[in-house]
Symmetry: none
Subunit: 260 residues, 2 copies
Amino acid sequence: MGNLSPFLDNGQYTVIYNMLSLGIASMLFTALFLFMARDRVLPRYRMAVMVSATVTSIAAYHYFRMFDDFKHAFGTDGMGVVAYNVGYRYVDWFLTVPLLMLETVAVLALARSVQKSMMYKLVPAAALMIALGYPGDARLDIMGISPSVWGALSTIPFLYILYVLFVELGKSLERQSAAVREKIRLLRLLLLATWGVYPISFIMNMNATGFDPASFVARETGYTIADILAKCLFGLMIFTIARIKSAEDSPEHAKAEYGS
Amino acid sequence: MGNLSPFLDNGQYTVIYNMLSLGIASMLFTALFLFMARDRVLPRYRMAVMVSATVTSIAAYHYFRMFDDFKHAFGTDGMGVVAYNVGYRYVDWFLTVPLLMLETVAVLALARSVQKSMMYKLVPAAALMIALGYPGDARLDIMGISPSVWGALSTIPFLYILYVLFVELGKSLERQSAAVREKIRLLRLLLLATWGVYPISFIMNMNATGFDPASFVARETGYTIADILAKCLFGLMIFTIARIKSAEDSPEHAKAEYGS
């Protein structure tokens, strides 16, 4: 076996290659499962499940692109002419992170005015957070602003989102059952834990001067694991909450789905 | 006809090529059938059928990748630069083996507390078994640990899974009908027989020094046949159990599906 890549050693190349393929498989088949599984919940919760399926579908598309892009940029046929495009990740997040906010709010089936007000806060903040992160991670030279400044700017909407989810949304949870509140608590913790990976990966890459293979591998692995947890596991938890709430709302549904 | 491959003779190349294509066809169309067929069972058994369809879908994706990868690594255009990536099989198993545990438990429609406790034992054990096998089969050099040690470590969760399925799950089967118990017995025997192929293939490859075409062919053929039985046949048996249990649970369903 010769060298798989002119820029990475065979172990590094194989790790990223397999992580990106794991990303494709996780996203694609979570999406397929959730689209199929939407009938397993009451109609009022299907929108949340379908948005979860859409999020993982969008991510599957971008992982296909990143996989091909990685092979082309780092494999033996790329010859170093092509640069690996971090834009795929940011276009993906720009579309999916606002939708993740939407599915979180939608699954609660809150009063429509409360739901609307939550959306108006969370969706634009999520889009802004991603838009401000991109110039830093892609090292675009916009008026000489350094990556760390973009990182700091992006943190402002991030903190606002946490405030809305943990403080404002918290108030709306009082009317939910204990089982649902418990799942929502886990959902927010998962969000906090996985979203924490992105700034860490961002900062690790920010401090590298030139191209550093080890921090590149760490960044791509970190982003991929965080993505799988924040989209696939998150979407499946949304589905579980929708299942619990469907059974709570309708004894007939519970009997058909669980036999008791 | 010239040489199909610089590394394998024409017979060896053709065997693997056709086995991988058989893998694609088996996985893809079992998945399609099961997704379509989920309405043929009562709602409470559809989750098990949908998980079976998801498992074969994930495997179909990986067989497409392996087929292309094999042609590229061993065909005349690869020129020995590209290595055949055993990672695809392990990423596939890492996702599908825990899901196979899930479908086995889900189809029984056990009491929810029993189901939950079974999942918490079987799913992490299955993931751990695969994660421990990979470094041995891929011959990764991690702290100089030899492939046989990884194989032995991976056997511990394997034996634990067998214990849970044959001893603990056995207790939950008493309340099932004779027809269902008979099918579950067959299901577990199929699992034991097919899962037995993986360690044999692993060991055959472990003892080969350098690249040995004959053990490579034996390994790929063994893995593929075991995969088809453990996922397609297994999934179709899950579907059959769901059909039997649906008819047992509901005379209306039995009449609609079988006319009597």
